[in-house]
Amino acid sequence: MTNSPIGSTLNRVDGPDKVTGAARYAGDESPTGLVHGHLVLATIGNGTIRSMDTGAARDHTGVLEIYTPDNPLPLHGVPPGVAFYFSETRRPLSDHEVRYHGQIVGLVIAETPEQARDAAALITVDYERRPANASFRDNVDDAVVPEPTPLPMGLPITILADGVPSIDAALAASPVTVTATYTHPARHHNALEPHAAVATWDGDRLTIHSTTQAPAAHAIELAQAFAVPADHVHVVNPHVGGGFGGKAFTWGPTYLAAAAARRLGRPVKVVPTREQLHTTTGHRSAAHQTVTLGSSADGTLNAIRHLSVTQAIGEDPGTRLTMKAYATENLHVSLRVTTGLNVPTTTILRAPGEETGSFAIECAMDELAIELGLDPIELRTRNHLTHTLSPDPATRLPYSNKHLIECYRLGARRFGWDTRNPAPRSTLATGGWLVGTGMAGAVLNASRAFTAVRVSFRPDGTAAVATSTADLGTGMRTVLAIMGTDSLGIPVDRIRPLIGDSRLPVGPDAVYGAQGSAATATVAPVVRDAAADAVEELINHAVTEPRSPLHGRDGVRYTAGDLTDGATTIGFGDLLTTTGGTDVGATTTSGPVTPPSYAFASHAAHFCEVRVHRLTGEIRVSRMTTVVDAGTIVNEKTARNQIVGGVVWGIGPALFESAHVEPDTGRIANANFADYLVPVNADVPDVDVVFLDHPDTNFSPLGARGLGELGTVGSAAAVANAVHHATGIRVRDLPITPEKLLTTPTGQA
């Protein structure tokens, strides 16, 4: 019997393919007859296309076709399901209006990438220009209450204690209040792999190698656009070069690749340039949040008011974060959204709402702690949330297996928090470096969906574990291998994880694939159920198949890859070879218990040390400790990597990341990796990650909640709080760039 590898530190099973170049990504495909597309983008932020001169481009060697609003490609309807809310609803090239700088206005198809690219540069566009309205900040005051949608976001929520007339009254009655506004710029996923698509049609059937987090949903979205049945679209994505939400939905370049391939009758590859990705695929909304906390003198929160403005309901900090953060008798969260901005489409990005919200709330808690003269951990502990916040007390559920206080305490011990001098600007190290430490808490909703997994035994002695999700670097393949070994008792190298294909099994709730930190929590428990069903099928096969040596026997059981009745024992590979060489297995759908008796969330505590140079304002993150409460850890090695990555996804927004949108044109002036700064190796210290590993068996029998986005929640606040501690300067407008620290700290000469 092979021991269960759950909780061990198994090497990533697709590691060897990824370090040798053997792992194939969408853009690596080059089917016979392939032609290449290059996008042409608008160079104005608002206006109408009067005409386009494509003559020189058409004459360019190798050019096959040029699609423009005057020669559009048919794309039907609007994106279905939640894609309607989180992707671009207007089909590319469907009219002559330019709504934002960098909108797709043409697609050149040529025999080679060089020909397509150069021909695209020969196209000229005559525009009727209108002034662009592209400054988020200038539109904050005019933001509006969003239209209601079926999604649980965008709606105001108010909770008031008995007899309290309003949130403002609750705040006015609070002995201590702090209020501040926190702002984020727009930001971009910038996965290293561009949104590549290689589309091939056979009649009205599409095969598309496409980088997507959700092959099944991608197939549905493409089928809608091409008015074909969903099973006529075959999405193949064995490896995905990072997603972060940016590949959860289908974007213009991919639709156009498939549309051009259909029209031309040849395979088409479209890979947008890095600059083009910034506008032709979604990005994260800018955010403007005003948080007011009211507390008693001992730090017990009495009221939280969290007013947010973003570009779309997908970025709703109050609903996503504040409702799950701290206990309070009185609470109000609301969202308003800007309208009519001439900027590209927003979408979800790693921990949408939670990341922005956690920066505001966790910084505000730091500010309140300072106001009260209380340790930030003590303030958080006093306001520990044990039940969900809800306007109707009858619907409040207890949080299941919540160990956030243990995260604080263990993290404090490992980090050395207790020796901290709480006074800001109190530590000056040699070389003129101000040293500061800060902490923050983190909460991420834990969800689990119904999905389907097929487990099948094969004549070659391997077992396939198949489901239609994707591995974006999350370690999903490794999770499936581990769960297969755990369930079937055979070594990991005999498990064949199969993902990255829209034709694999998927449950109705799980078509959106690898997102929401829910993939492992959703898929892993179902592997056990599917494995049990597959074993039953295998035993049935063994006793009913005439050629089986166990034919007609009683009491046949399965153990660690073998079938036996006590007298005869045969491995399943030999059995299936003997009986005719076909696979035997089962497809099983299962999911969470409903209605739930508990609320579920993963939690963490971050501790950060920074060094800020007192003369230059240069900021170096020198240490981080993160303690994670996410239930059972299926594979510590890949989970640790996910948390470290998440934490760095907090360092990035804290210190570097910002789209520089020119207010007058809407042009993103820094749409490249030299100017849109992301953390590099030299920016990242060793990150000390600890998993509490308390299985949450109320959540699933396996007990594993999600954690993919958890590291990102709160980590930017930990950095900002540390910067404040180092310098005495509270920066509420991200990123914290050096010039914001070249000022006199509050209260200092």
Partner: protein, 199 residues
């Protein structure tokens, strides 16, 4: 490992050539926006050029577009798709390969500019079925997530060891900072460089 004494170039010379190539690629590469008043015409005499590429020990005689980068030629002509295009501007490092035993950005290197010079890609690093120690170190240390930057990271890591820049974690971080990892597996990349370099 290829002979690195042949066609040795100075770093200054390499940078100058890269800059020239970069400018050429930018002009030819559609950076001139649609709507610009002076479209760039194809330069005169820009027909295909003959070049002999020596890649991973094999020799390939090709007629290439003079605008074709080494990266696109590897990927689209030689089907060596392990080398990745993350930015096509020399800003991300995903396309890192070795030319004359030194790490170069293949997106800023024209194929026609490296005739007969030994090129090693990620596919050429292993010794038959035996992975290069750096490849094994990346697996062992989990120095990757999505894997898209990984070929470039591994090629840089091998070069960093060869360059002698593994004296400390800080030095490794600095000399690996030309290779972006958006998944941010940076701490394990540092660990892998140490293991793979025998430190």
């Amino acid at each position: 490992m290829e002979d690195s004494t042949e066609s040795e170039v100075s770093r200054r010379g390499f940078l100058a050539r890269s800059a020239a190539v970069s400018a050429a690629v930018t002009v030819a590469g559609g950076a001139v926006p649609a709507g610009a008043t002076t479209p760039v015409a194809a330069p005169p005499g820009a027909g295909p050029v003959e070049v002999t590429l020596r890649v991973n020990g094999g020799t390939h005689r090709l007629r290439v577009d003079p605008r074709a980068t080494l990266l696109d030629t590897l990927r689209e002509r030689l089907e060596l798709t392990g080398t990745k295009k993350g930015c096509d501007r020399g800003q991300c490092g995903a396309c890192t390969v070795h030319v004359d035993g030194r790490r170069v950005l293949s997106c800023l290197t024209l194929a026609a500019s490296v005739p007969n010079r030994p090129v090693t890609t990620i596919e050429g690093l292993a010794d038959g079925d035996r992975p290069h120690p750096m490849q094994q170190a990346f697996v062992d240390c989990d120095a990757l997530q999505c894997g898209f930057c990984t070929p470039g990271q591994v090629m840089s890591a091998v070069a960093v060891v060869r360059e002698g820049h593994t004296g400390s974690d800080e030095e490794i971080r600095e000399f690996m900072s030309g290779n972006l990892c958006r998944c941010a597996a940076y701490p394990t990349i540092v660990a892998a460089v140490k293991q793979g370099g025998g430190r």
